[in-house]
Symmetry: C2
Subunit: 114 residues, 2 copies
């Protein structure tokens, strides 16, 4: 991917002990697909390959989204937020994003306006 070295240096990995949360949004539908975490290495792999990589907090390892399921995420754009501690990946999702088989991980509605 084409990226800005200057903006890359503004990412605050320290605040979250080496990790930043990554919001993943579908490029076409604008739906929120999932939230995962990235360390510096996962972000580097994403920038190098154009496919979303994350860091699994439970397995304590780097993972490429869809490596076993085939549900790859091609990353179109990456944004960082104002204080540099959160990323947004805008992706083309192959198949579904959620391990339950749902398209988005946010398939349960907790509440709505009355």
């Amino acid at each position: 991917m084409r990226f800005s070295e200057e903006i890359l240096n503004e990412i605050d990995f320290e605040k979250g002990n080496g990790l930043v949360p990554v919001v993943v949004q579908d490029f076409k539908t604008k739906k929120i697909l999932m939230v995962a975490y990235a360390n510096r290495e996962a972000l580097q792999k994403t920038l190098e390959t154009g496919f979303a990589h994350y860091y699994s907090r439970s397995r304590k390892e780097l993972w490429k989204k869809g490596e076993t399921s085939g549900n790859l995420q091609r990353v179109k754009e990456i944004y960082i937020d104002c204080d540099g501690d959160t990323l947004l990946y805008v992706v083309n999702q192959k198949g579904v994003a959620c391990h339950t088989g749902e398209y988005s991980c946010f398939f349960r509605k907790l509440a709505e306006e009355e």
Copy 2:
């Protein structure tokens, strides 16, 4: 707000030491506005009032979004993700979401597909 007690009980506040990240999405434009954090009390206040409340990790206190700036967020819908450790607030944003004056906190593009 109308909410499901059953789904409320599935939120995993323990994983993040009492906090869950909240992705905030604009109801009309589908833009991601910001990511903040909620504890149980902030979520309760949001459900009671219909206005977005969060927990500030730096100030260590509950805050109502827009209380000083006037940039309130009326919450239309709340979703939880598959493993119950992240929330999504879909909101009507008054004014702007970011303290910099930008509409969204994700106004800086780090990278794009080649």
